[in-house]
């Protein structure tokens, strides 16, 4: 009886296994992307997926990953909506993908992370920078960007080195990312600086006159203002701040790595922000930017396209190391990756919880152009622990 059961079980298992490759060829890596190609995340997910596509085309033209696994992409638009993200992720998982790409923001990525964890499929967000994403998202959720806490540490150390002493931070509790200034505040205080005030705003608020009046009335005057606000809030904020005559140094983060920031004229002059890379002459990033221009017929205007390219390179390295397209094997291999050469930075996952170790770049806006301030490494013991909410 037991033998009969075993045989039946074996047959069933064999039958079930034989069914899987029927939809997914063994020599194919199926990647599902559930990203915000329309809506609020489109400025980030759009370019990220363009860069991702360049890497996919390159790899496939060279015969696939390791000359073995051709990449097949199934792309879905989440309309930047969290509920739609989980629907798209579920559909992709049901379609038998090996790797899932989620939106470039932590909040909708959480929706997909739970599904990916249940299905034991590795999931990657191209540009989410909240260090809580892989922590709360589980073992199968990976990020691909310098963490908010790391970016904030680099900015705070830079501000401290400039001799800036009295800070004001403006954050929004609406998303994980917009609370980045709270990390800045922690580090800046640790370095001996003073945080004169912590203002909040609502995403999409547009009118910052009340906050600006507060900043202006601070005594002693504030000499550095830090915010993670992005479009459309950030341009409105900095224009109103400068209009009120506040000349304090303003520090932003990667969300404002966008053409609008460089077209703000006098208001944005001298602004410094942290991002993921800079195309110095002869760098890999410059090479990527040329490829981008050749494929899409226009210059890339944001770092997020290169970030998308790097994400595919990480997945490629993971599949190479795993030697298979089996999701669990890819996940384990990625968690062990070290010094992967991306075009923006070297990328290491080994020893992290899924938030990669990557270089942070500080950029200054000078006459409407990018100026490299530096690519400093943060002091490790200053980096604050992820803030769980």
């Amino acid at each position: 009886m037991l033998r009969k059961l075993t045989i039946t079980a074996c047959l069933t298992a064999a039958f079930a296994l034989s069914q899987v490759p029927a939809t997914v060829s063994a020599q194919e890596l199926v990647i599902g992307t559930a990203t915000g190609q329309t809506g609020g995340l489109a400025p980030y997910d759009g370019p990220a997926m363009q860069g991702f596509q360049i890497a996919v085309d390159e790899i496939n033209a060279a015969g696939g990953i390791g000359g073995k696994y051709k990449i097949k992409l199934i792309s879905k638009d989440t309309r930047s909506d969290a509920a739609q993200t989980s629907i798209a992720a579920q559909e992709l998982i049901d379609a038998g993908i090996s790797v899932l790409v989620t939106p470039s923001d932590a909040d909708p990525s959480f929706a997909a992370a739970a599904l990916a964890t249940d299905a034991k499929i590795p999931a990657f967000s191209p540009a989410a920078s909240s260090p809580t994403l892989p922590l709360m998202g589980g073992d199968y959720m990976f990020a691909n960007f310098p963490g908010d806490n790391v970016q904030a540490t680099v900015s705070a150390e830079w501000a401290h080195k400039q001799g800036l002493k009295n800070a004001y931070i403006l954050y929004s509790p609406d998303t994980q990312y917009t609370t980045l200034p709270l990390y800045f505040s922690d580090v800046f205080k640790k370095l001996g600086g003073n945080v004169a005030g912590e203002g909040t705003y609502t995403i999409g608020q547009q009118d910052f006159s009340a906050e600006v009046t507060k900043i202006k009335s601070m005594n002693p005057p504030v000499d550095v203002v830090m915010t993670a606000a992005y479009e459309p809030d950030f341009p409105a904020f900095i224009r109103q701040l400068r209009a009120a005559g506040v000349t304090a140094q303003v520090i932003g983060s990667d969300g404002i790595d966008s053409p609008t920031t460089f077209s703000l004229g006098q208001a944005a002059e001298g602004l410094v922000f942290s991002t993921a890379g800079h195309a110095t002459p002869g760098s890999a990033l410059e090479g990527f930017n040329k490829k981008f221009a050749a494929k899409y017929g226009k210059e890339t205007d944001t770092i997020f396209s290169a970030i998308g390219y790097d994400l595919m390179k990480v997945i490629e390295a993971g599949v190479m190391a795993a030697g298979s397209t089996e999701p669990q094997a890819i996940r384990d291999a990625v968690a062990d990756l070290e010094n992967i050469k991306g075009v923006t930075s070297e990328i290491t996952y080994k020893g992290t919880t899924g938030m990669p170790v990557r270089q942070v770049t500080l950029i200054r806006v000078k006459e409407g152009e990018r100026e490299l301030v530096g690519q400093p490494s943060p002091t490790a013991d200053l980096v604050p622990a992820p803030r769980m909410q």
């Binding site: 809506g39 547009q206 006159s209 224009r239 209009a243 609008t260």
Partner: protein, 297 residues
């Protein structure tokens, strides 16, 4: 004290923009009994016109009137194409139609222009301010306050002194009787849309002058604020819309200015809570419309 005065100026400036927006909704509502949720998209159209004018090298002083003109045209076309066929339908039908128009326009902007935010080139002057002692008033704020004033006075004159204006006021009170007097319904309604387009255009220019960028979904938040302001003021009442707009501006600015830091994250909730409280005290709004609940059109 200086800070209080400064915050009050901030509140007047923001309230003025809300008032213009709410007025745009109210003028259509007073005549057709419909909230036009595509009103925000008229602002987006204004924004894109400003952007293209900037790229074509037009100075801002030329671009702004052109943008307002395009908004008026768009509003009239919107009425002709989308709302005239459903004019005699139920309120729900018209409401859903306006949502549909809004979504269709947003998708068109995304597909035909860009999903990304586009920068709008503005004169540097708009990011400067005039200082009176320790007070500083942004050029933007001065423009916003003075333009709001001019528009309110002009609208008042138009509604009281011109034939079309009087016809519109009459239609708002009793459309059937107005039609019996020989006033053409199409003309009055098209006029109402043209004015709402002009108001959206002016508010759109002020809004974009503040944010310096335009994106496909930018109309949503202003129309939401306008809706809150119009309800607060008393739906269908023009004076009410202005009062509601200013009330909302004052509530938002004073909360942002004087709430302690640790309560600030609940600001939006508190602001809406105060709106609800005001509505509990005055269910028909601050300045109720003359004919609440009567059949329209």
């Amino acid at each position: 004290m200086e800070i209080f005065i400064q915050q009050t100026i901030n509140a007047i400036s923001l309230g003025g923009t809300y008032a213009l927006l709410a007025l745009g909704l109210a003028i259509v509502f007073s005549i057709m009994g419909m909230i036009n949720f595509a009103h925000g998209e008229l602002m987006t159209i204004t924004g894109y016109t400003l952007m293209y004018c900037g790229l074509a090298g037009f100075p801002f002083l030329v671009a702004a009137p052109v943008a307002i003109g395009v908004a008026i045209l768009a509003a009239v076309i919107m009425e002709r194409v989308a709302f005239r066929p459903v004019r005699n339908s139920s309120g729900a039908t018209m409401l859903v139609t306006s949502f549909a128009v809004a979504v269709i326009l947003q998708t068109l902007f995304q597909n035909l222009i860009s999903t990304r935010s586009q920068a709008v080139i503005l004169p540097d002057m708009l990011a400067q301010s005039i200082h009176f002692g320790s007070l500083s008033i942004g050029i933007n704020q001065i423009l916003s306050i003075s333009i709001t004033l001019v528009v309110l006075v002009a609208l008042n004159w138009f509604l009281r002194r011109t034939i079309l204006g009087m016809a519109m006021r009459a239609a708002a009170e009793d459309f059937s009787v107005t039609r019996l007097m020989g006033v053409r319904a199409n003309g009055v309604i098209a006029g109402a849309f043209a004015i709402s387009g002009a108001l959206a255009g002016v508010a759109g220019v002020l809004w974009v002058a503040q944010r310096a960028s335009v994106d496909p979904l930018m109309g949503f938040i202003p129309v939401l604020k306008a809706f809150i302001a119009a309800i607060l003021g008393g739906l269908g009442s023009l004076t009410g819309a202005v009062a509601g707009g200013f009330a909302l501006g004052f509530i938002e600015i004073y909360l942002a200015a004087y709430l302690p830091d640790h309560i600030q994250p609940y600001r939006e909730a508190l602001a809406l809570g105060m709106v609800i409280l005001l509505l509990l005290l005055r269910p028909n709004g601050l300045v109720p419309a003359f004919n609440v609940g009567r059949e329209k059109v």
